[in-house]
């Protein structure tokens, strides 16, 4: 009896203890939690929905608040199993077009969270086999599109900034430059393996334009073959000769009487104004190519297209494939590519092998340039090794690298050339022509020569850092150093202006023998300088750009750019400020300073073709970007 009674009491006691145990355990949990080194929440548990006025409906007051065991039945009814698993949901994962572009209606959260459709099944049958990949590669018909852009710029330039002649309201040159341009493309993909693409570029040509004063060519016709690719000469209505760059901008106006604008001894006439000349338009086939894929392994592209070859931003010595070099002052500008055949072979998980054949007109079959490249991702970087061979040019080996180190992207290029494509100059042993120059403009007589059997090295390294601060500021800093092994270590004073003079006066070459009877057997004219031979004159360069945008969350942006030749310490500094308004307009103002000595590279490149010593220049540009955009 006592045993039975004792058993009953034990069961009763056990039942009481078991019943109390959860309470006890809960206390233990609390105690355990308190014992933990629990950090304070990052912030007070501020429910995002409560922070948003759109969610202020009292029905949804703090619906996601951590209740710590509390449960509001009324609220829970609103969220009755909103996340319940519904494995047999019909139509889930169907056609993407079935999902409209409607945003979740936050005023209708009730139905959003009250339904039972939460975890749906993706019906595999709804997605045709292979369609995700192949659907992207075939289009019906031809797709057309493009982008239009326009701007009006007012430019004011001074080339006498540091002289007594400088007058802030008397610029040496001023111009108004309207510009309208567009890119138009077509894209046709009749088959999965085949595609055709073309892009036309329409740009304004400048028939009014900017004259750069301070030029005084004293003899000899302009050797147009020495001008950069795309540059032209043209006689204007006044009989003066204008040299235009590839965009049609007048770089130099050479008066018919041999003196440059602004160099006349006569008193300057008051500017009577001008009606100007309506700008013209030019149309360029910027890209035109066809793609073909063989068995998903070999990717062919033939035609004219931009080639991405190097990793550099301001300088890319490795890139000898595109038709124009990177412009350090406009490094993101589209660059025209050559006509080429590209074969690409992806291998492994990260590898790509390329083979380019660059094809030029009026060449022999053996004149085709060959450029292979292999690139491979290694860790957080990508390593590339490439080569370039064209039988008339210096062969080169190229190493490329880009990587991310923390939040900083780094990139670099190394180039090793056997020989150089550059035509070099050196003072001639015979300076009698300079001594006898009646106008005393020829300071140094130069010989030109080429180097075909020596190694040259070029290398560049840079970084890019982008950072955003919680929608109050965006920062971009890009810097790059360039070692130019083809640059001049010779510090002969005036060598570069003398070379620039020789560029326009080829007959002054110290090695030229004009008299056929005096020419020795086997005589050949010395190599002629080209414009590219008087650029990148130094051995050390650096570029840096710093850009602040979305300042305080506005459309205001500030940019500063600097480019310096560290061999002669001349350079360019360009601060700019811009502001966007009315969605598609923006206004910007920029200044452009140059600095350096009178015979240095960046002091005043425009004056290099004259016999005048260069003075630092200063220019201001105010520009309004007109409505434009893609279509």
């Amino acid at each position: 009896m006592s045993t039975r009674g004792g058993s009953a009491r034990r069961r009763l006691l056990t039942a009481i203890l078991v019943a109390c145990a959860p309470v006890w355990m809960a206390a233990q949990v609390d105690s355990s939690e308190k014992g933990k080194a629990e950090p304070e929440p990052p912030t007070e548990v501020a429910d995002p929905l409560m922070d948003d006025s759109l969610f202020e409906d009292p029905l949804f007051a703090d619906p996601f608040a951590v209740g710590a065991g509390e449960s509001d039945a009324d609220t829970d009814d609103l969220f009755a199993d909103p996340f319940a698993i519904v494995d047999d949901a019909a139509g889930g994962g169907g056609d993407s077009t079935a999902i409209g572009n409607d945003f979740i209606d936050v005023d209708d959260l009730d139905s959003l969270f009250a339904t039972d459709e939460i975890i749906e099944e993706a019906p595999e049958g709804a997605v045709p086999v292979g369609s995700p990949v192949s659907d992207l590669l075939i289009t019906e018909g031809v797709r057309w599109g493009g982008r239009i852009r326009g701007s009006v710029s007012a430019d004011y330039g001074w080339d006498d900034v540091w002289t007594s002649d400088f007058g802030p309201f008397d610029p040496t040159s001023e111009s108004l430059q309207p510009s309208i341009g567009a890119d138009l493309f077509f894209d046709a993909r009749p088959e999965e393996e085949f595609r055709a693409f073309g892009k036309l570029s329409i740009d304004t040509t400048t028939d009014g334009g900017l004259d750069i004063a301070g030029l005084a060519l004293t003899g000899g016709d302009i050797d147009t073959s020495a001008l950069p690719e795309g540059w032209t000469t043209e006689e204007n209505d006044d009989g003066d000769t204008e040299i235009r760059d590839g965009t049609g901008t007048v770089i130099i106006t050479i008066p018919a009487d041999g003196a440059a604008d602004g160099e006349d001894d006569e008193e300057p006439e008051e500017d009577p104004g001008s009606l100007g000349t309506p700008p013209g338009l030019e149309i360029l086939v910027f890209e035109l190519f066809a793609d073909y894929v063989w068995q998903d392994q070999l990717f062919f592209r033939f035609g004219k297209h931009t080639i991405k070859w190097g990793t550099g931003y301001f300088f890319s010595p490795a890139d000898v494939l595109n038709l124009t070099a990177v412009d350090a002052e406009d490094p993101t500008a589209d660059r025209e590519g050559p006509v080429s055949l590209r074969v690409q072979y992806p291998f492994g998980i990260t590898g790509n092998a390329y083979l380019y054949a660059i094809l030029n007109a009026d060449a022999e079959p053996l004149d085709v340039a060959i450029a292979p490249k292999v690139e491979l991702a290694v860790g957080r970087g990508e390593l590339g090794v490439a080569g370039y061979y064209q039988r008339t040019l210096a062969p080169r080996l190229v190493a490329l690298y880009s990587a991310s180190i923390g939040e900083v992207d780094v990139f670099g290029e190394g180039v090793l050339l056997y020989g150089s494509d550059r035509v070099f100059v050196r003072p001639s042993r015979d300076q009698s022509a300079a001594d006898a120059d009646p106008e005393d403009d020829l300071d140094i007589v130069l010989d030109t020569f080429e180097v075909g059997d020596a190694l040259f090295a070029q290398a560049t390294a840079g970084f890019r850092y982008l950072k955003e601060w919680e929608d109050t500021l965006s920062l971009a800093v890009i810097g790059q150093y360039f070692f130019n092994g083809e640059g001049y270590a010779d510090e002969t004073p005036g060598l570069m202006p003398a070379a620039a003079r020789l560029l326009a006066n080829t007959g002054e070459n110290g090695l030229i023998i004009d008299d056929p009877e005096a020419q020795p057997e086997g005589y050949e004219d010395p190599p002629a300088l080209a414009f590219g031979d008087v650029t990148n004159w130094g051995r050390h360069y650096a570029g840096l750009t710093l850009s602040l945008s979305s300042i305080l969350g506005t459309d205001l942006g500030i940019t500063a750019f600097g480019l310096v030749n560290m061999s002669d310490w001349s350079g360019i500094v360009t601060p700019a400020i811009s502001y966007s308004f009315l969605d598609r307009f923006s206004v910007s103002a920029s200044a452009r300073f140059t600095f350096g000595g009178e015979s240095d590279e960046f002091t005043n490149p425009g004056s290099l073709l004259s016999a005048e010593p260069a003075e630092p220049t200063f220019g201001v540009t105010v520009s309004i970007a007109m409505p434009g955009g893609s279509f």
């Binding site: 004792g6 009491r9 034990r10 006691l13 203890l17 006890w24 355990m25 233990q28 950090p39 990052p42 501020a46 995002p48 929905l49 922070d51 948003d52 006025s53 759109l54 996601f64 951590v66 209740g67 710590a68 065991g69 509390e70 609220t75 829970d76 009755a80 199993d81 909103p82 996340f83 698993i85 994962g93 993407s96 572009n101 945003f103 979740i104 459709e117 975890i119 749906e120 099944e121 993706a122 595999e124 709804a126 997605v127 086999v129 995700p132 599109g145 982008r147 493309f185 693409f197 080639i307 993101t332 589209d334 992806p346 998980i349 991702a377 957080r380 880009s402 991310s404 923390g406 929608d471």
Partner: protein, 253 residues
Amino acid sequence: MKRLIYTSILIAALTVLTPVWVAAEDPDFDSILREIDDLANFSESDFSAVYTIISERPGEEREVTQARLFRRDLNDQFLILILQPDVQRGQGYLQVDENVWFYDPESRKFERTTIRENIQNSDAQNADLDQSSFSSDYTVQSWQEGTLGSFDVYVVDLEARSSDVAYDQVRLWIRQDQTIVLKEEDFSVNGRLMRTVLYPRYERVGSKIIPKQVLIVDELNDGERTQLTMTDATIQTIPDSVFSKAYLERVSN
């Protein structure tokens, strides 16, 4: 006397065993985070889907971006191709190993970027479409139980193991009866709430469970929100060539 002995034994046993029991019931959040990752990751198959990303900003027109995602989690590869709007069609992101590139068909350049970069002008990041990696990227700092709507949840505070992740601190609302995340708050390194993410709909794709609809609320800018909707999900095998620069160039403009 016997009663006292039994009672003492019982109390002693409960005193000793209860903490063990409680400890045994303590959720293993490392395991839970791994389970969350496993449910959302495709280690044995490829994954592809279309994401429609709707962004809303006060005073601005609603922006709609559509992107096709290809994922091969086995090799840490993904490719995101922008399908809409037309003006950005052909732009894309390619991840191969630890490298992420952005391709711009206008310039034909591949530029390095990060998985933290926002997709177009939205609050969604590349990482939102990539595989889940809570267990490897974060450590659990604290947790508590709570409710979210009608669900019992664990509210778990995570701290990043390194600076390679998009957010230094994350708070997750994890459903207790089904290991899926219902809500997420992302904080900056100084503890500022950056965004809140809601996961109101999931889709089972094969044996995995992927968020089908995601609402991202920008906590820094009132009224800015982004909604992602996933469609056309499939685990069909994707050709190797898709995860290459060649393919991205091929499908772009």
